[in-house]
Amino acid sequence: MNIVRGQLQDVFRDVFSDPALVLNDGMTAEDIEGWDSITHINLIIAIEKRMGVKFATAEISRLKEDSSSVGDLVELVAGKLKSSK
């Protein structure tokens, strides 16, 4: 999980142009400046490219919900990487 979190943090820093951004599992879109629908898709595309995973429409949507956190994203990506091995 920590490796996945670290890789995602690099992607977040690129997409949000914030080299000081530190991710923690409890963070939501509210906690990160500029996390709107467009940035959300840019983030998804960047994660797909960097981590070699693919998200379904329903997953992209759920990750945008108010109750969704960075922890949910980490868990989802880790699950996808595990099942692809």
Binding site: E33, D36, S37, I38, T57, A58, I60
Partner: protein, 413 residues
């Protein structure tokens, strides 16, 4: 049958009272299924409509089974194309009816809640194709599509959420306070829908009629009277629409809770939104989210993957496309297209303004701007008036709305 009718409320209270005493899941599912079937029976007017509804439901489930066996994008695309075309024919959209013979159009097919059923069907099949739905039974699918609490006007619930609840049908109101609050919400919904909304509707109708008089008699309206009627139309219709629709949602959400179903919320104080983007996360939320997830996001994602450098600018095209569809989904006439396009203009303006502020003030400056109470109050007032203006085009056709505006103009000038 209206949800505010005595028959519906009596039936709901009987079922809600009996529900906790029903022995097990099968009895509960059977009871709700009978209620769903009875509700649909009262709303479908003729044999042709029954046939069309049957074909709509059966084709959706058959396509689901085929997609599970052969997850083919071509199959999904062909089915969705046929589905949307059939919807446009049944709802008599000119874009397709102009190519059809009179005999086809003479068929009196009418399916209540078809627009909502269409969006649920698309969501169900896209999610099934992308392997986001566990085994869906015909029984569960039918009750999902014909669920009496969401049949007429939403909220648009995901199949996965419905399935999870349908397969348990637990008592979700597990203490007296929660139960009282559900009945209180039901009562508030009834009051909003039948008393307060009706009051604003009558105010709107009286003023709209006064402004819709033929051109010759318009001169009889004194300027002050014309302005009064204009503001009455301008504010009372949005109030009516909100109270009527949110009252309806209060009734169905509370009613569903009484029988173990949790529906998504559809409203979150929409007239306190600070811009049009914010507004669409508060007004008819499940429609806004559906449009975002199944139209805007896939379209923008495709564009951003192919033309990453031009994606930011092309996002505005996606806004216009998504809101154009949202507009015509409400009905086949030009006024709904105008309403949708006005929303796209509002969303684009909000996005451009945010980008401008970010460029000029940076992230810290933007945060300060957003936190200012004065700016927040002005933004809320501006958004409210923009939405009131957009809704001028919602209840009447374009010539009628323009005639009303001309009447006010002629009386004042």
């Amino acid at each position: 049958m209206s949800l505010a009718s005595l028959q519906f409320l009596t039936a709901l209270l009987i079922v809600a009272t009996a529900f906790p005493y029903l022995p097990g899941l099968r009895w509960r599912q059977a009871t709700l299924a009978i209620c769903n079937a009875g509700f649909v029976y009262l709303l479908i007017p003729n044999g042709a409509s029954w046939l069309a509804l049957g074909a709509f439901l059966a084709s959706g489930y058959l396509t689901y089974l085929l997609l599970r066996k052969w997850p083919s994008r071509i199959l999904l695309s062909i089915y969705l194309f046929l589905l949307v075309t059939t919807f446009l024919i049944i709802r008599k959209y000119e874009i397709v009816t102009m190519y059809l013979p009179e005999s086809t159009l003479a068929l009196a097919v009418s399916i209540v809640g078809l627009s909502y059923m269409l969006f649920r069907q698309i969501q169900f099949l896209v999610d099934a194709f992308e392997d986001q739905i566990d085994q869906a039974s015909w029984w569960g699918y039918l009750n999902y599509q014909l669920n009496l609490f969401t049949l007429l006007s939403g909220p648009i619930q995901r199949y996965q959420d419905f399935q999870e609840q349908w397969n348990r049908l637990d008592i979700v109101l597990d203490d007296r306070h929660a139960l009282r609050m559900a009945y209180f919400r039901l009562l508030m919904g009834l009051i909003k829908m039948t008393i307060i909304a009706t009051l604003f509707q009558s105010i709107y109708q009286r003023s709209a009629e006064a402004l819709s008089l033929p051109a010759g008699s318009a001169a009889q309206l004194a300027p002050i009277s014309a302005i009064g009627h204009f503001f009455s139309v301008f504010y009372s219709y949005p109030l009516y629409l909100y109270l009527n629709f949110s009252g309806y949602c209060d009734i169905v959400i509370a009613g569903a809770l009484l029988v173990g179903l949790i529906l998504p919320e559809n409203f979150d104080r929409p007239y306190l939104a600070r811009n049009v983007i914010d507004y669409w996360t508060r007004w008819h939320r499940t429609l806004g989210f559906w449009i975002r997830d199944y139209l805007f996001l896939p379209l923008y994602k495709t564009i951003a993957e192919r033309w990453p450098k031009r994606a930011e600018s092309l996002a505005f095209l996606c806004y216009f496309f998504a809101f154009f569809v949202a507009g015509i989904w409400h009905g086949p006439t030009l006024n709904f297209v105008i309403y949708g396009l006005l929303q796209a203009v509002g969303v684009s303006a909000a996005k451009l303004w945010e980008r401008h502020l970010l460029k000029r003030r940076g992230r810290v400056g933007l945060k300060e701007y957003l936190q200012s109470p004065k700016i927040r109050a002005s933004a809320i007032a501006g958004t409210l008036h923009f939405e009131c203006f957009s809704l001028l085009f919602f209840p009447a056709d374009v010539p009628t709305t323009l005639h009303m505006l001309r009447t006010v103009w002629r009386s004042v000038i």
